[in-house]
């Protein structure tokens, strides 16, 4: 901005301390104030590049300030999801399973893996998964799975457990890439097929809670 301090020989705006004159001699603060209150520029101000610049500066600041103060502060819709996902990731940074890889360290979130196993078991007929725990011995890639299930009333429990076992073994290898060494199945309850069985029954059962249902 073209602002000069005309020390001593200031003819126009000598009244206030610190007043700054434009190159044309007009006072910068006066021009600014006139622009701010919305006065129509006089003939000099219209033609003078310095005064016009001061007017433009004032209007620009005014528009910025008002635009920002009037704008509703609204977080983008994904903010909550992003924060919660990050919090979940940071909360249990060491709750990870090792994946076998020739290229370096590879890991898999244990809660995510448990959710997959519960999901595939839930999709089977006649059985619902409750909790699922996956344990890996240090330095080994294969895992022991403990899963608690509820079975539909009247279903043969021996064949249900055999199917669940097969499903867990297959899902571990195909979906997770974690070979399953042993599957422990705990049938903690039965549910009536006329009622939605997923939430039925009492208590969390053995091993419930740690990797509880999402």
């Amino acid at each position: 901005m073209a602002v000069n301090r005309l020390s001593g020989s200031d003819l126009h705006g000598a009244s206030e301390w610190g007043s700054e004159s434009l190159a044309c001699g007009r006072d910068a603060a006066t021009a600014w104030d006139r622009a701010e209150v919305g006065v129509t520029p006089d003939e000099h101000e219209r033609g003078c590049p310095h005064c016009a610049a001061a007017f433009a500066d004032a209007r620009r600041l005014d528009s910025v300030v008002h635009r920002m103060s009037n704008a509703d502060v609204e977080p983008p819709p994904s903010v909550m999801d992003r924060v919660m996902a990050a919090v979940r990731t940071d909360l249990r940074p060491h709750d990870l399973l090792a994946l076998d890889s020739p290229h370096g360290p590879a890991r898999l979130s244990r809660p995510a893996a448990a959710a997959v196993l519960r999901n595939v078991v839930d999709r089977m007929g006649g059985v619902r998964a409750r909790s699922c725990r996956i344990e890996q011995l240090d330095g080994r890639d294969d895992a022991d799975v403990t899963i608690t299930v509820t079975a539909r009333f009247g279903v043969d429990l021996a064949s249900v457990t055999a199917r669940v076992r097969q499903m867990v073994l297959a899902a571990g290898e195909q979906a997770l890439g974690v070979p399953v060494r042993r599957v422990d199945i705990d049938v903690v309850d039965v549910f009536d097929s006329s009622v939605d069985g997923a939430g039925g029954g009492a208590g969390g059962g053995a091993g419930g809670g740690k990797d509880g249902r999402r």
């Binding site: 996902a85 994946l99 890889s101 890991r107 979130s109 995510a112 890439g177 974690v178």
Partner: protein
């Protein structure tokens, strides 16, 4: 300097490596998204609110360059139906190759599959 080509010393920064890794990891089949940690998520939100959406993101990637080698950590989200082990191996292989091609650095890539979408 007296004859031949003058010696050139090239140093590639951590952020450059991280951006290359993030770009490549996103395009690996089975990778749905990269998962930012808490600090990166908050910084990303700050940028979004301030209207400075960056074109190249490093969310979910940490990189550290030591001399002519680098260590890169990538955190990814995949979807049920892709084998997590195979996705992790592919990310390691592809990211290491891409960084080596761009920078000449030897890279060790660590991958964490942070989540598996079930839908």
């Amino acid at each position: 300097m007296t004859h031949g080509t003058p010696p050139v010393r090239l140093h590639v920064g951590d952020t450059a490596v991280a951006r290359i890794a993030a770009q490549r990891a996103c395009r690996v089949p089975g990778v749905v998204a990269l998962r930012a940690d808490l600090a990166q998520a908050l910084l990303g939100i700050a940028d979004a609110v301030l209207g400075q959406e960056r074109t190249l993101r490093t969310d979910g990637v940490k990189a550290a360059v030591n001399g002519d080698s680098a260590e890169v950590t990538v955190t990814v989200v995949t979807r049920l139906g892709h084998n997590c082990r195979d996705v992790a191996r592919a990310v390691q292989r592809e990211v290491a190759d891409e960084i080596a091609r761009h920078t000449g650095l030897q890279v060790q890539v660590s991958v964490t599959v942070a989540d598996i979408l079930l839908d």
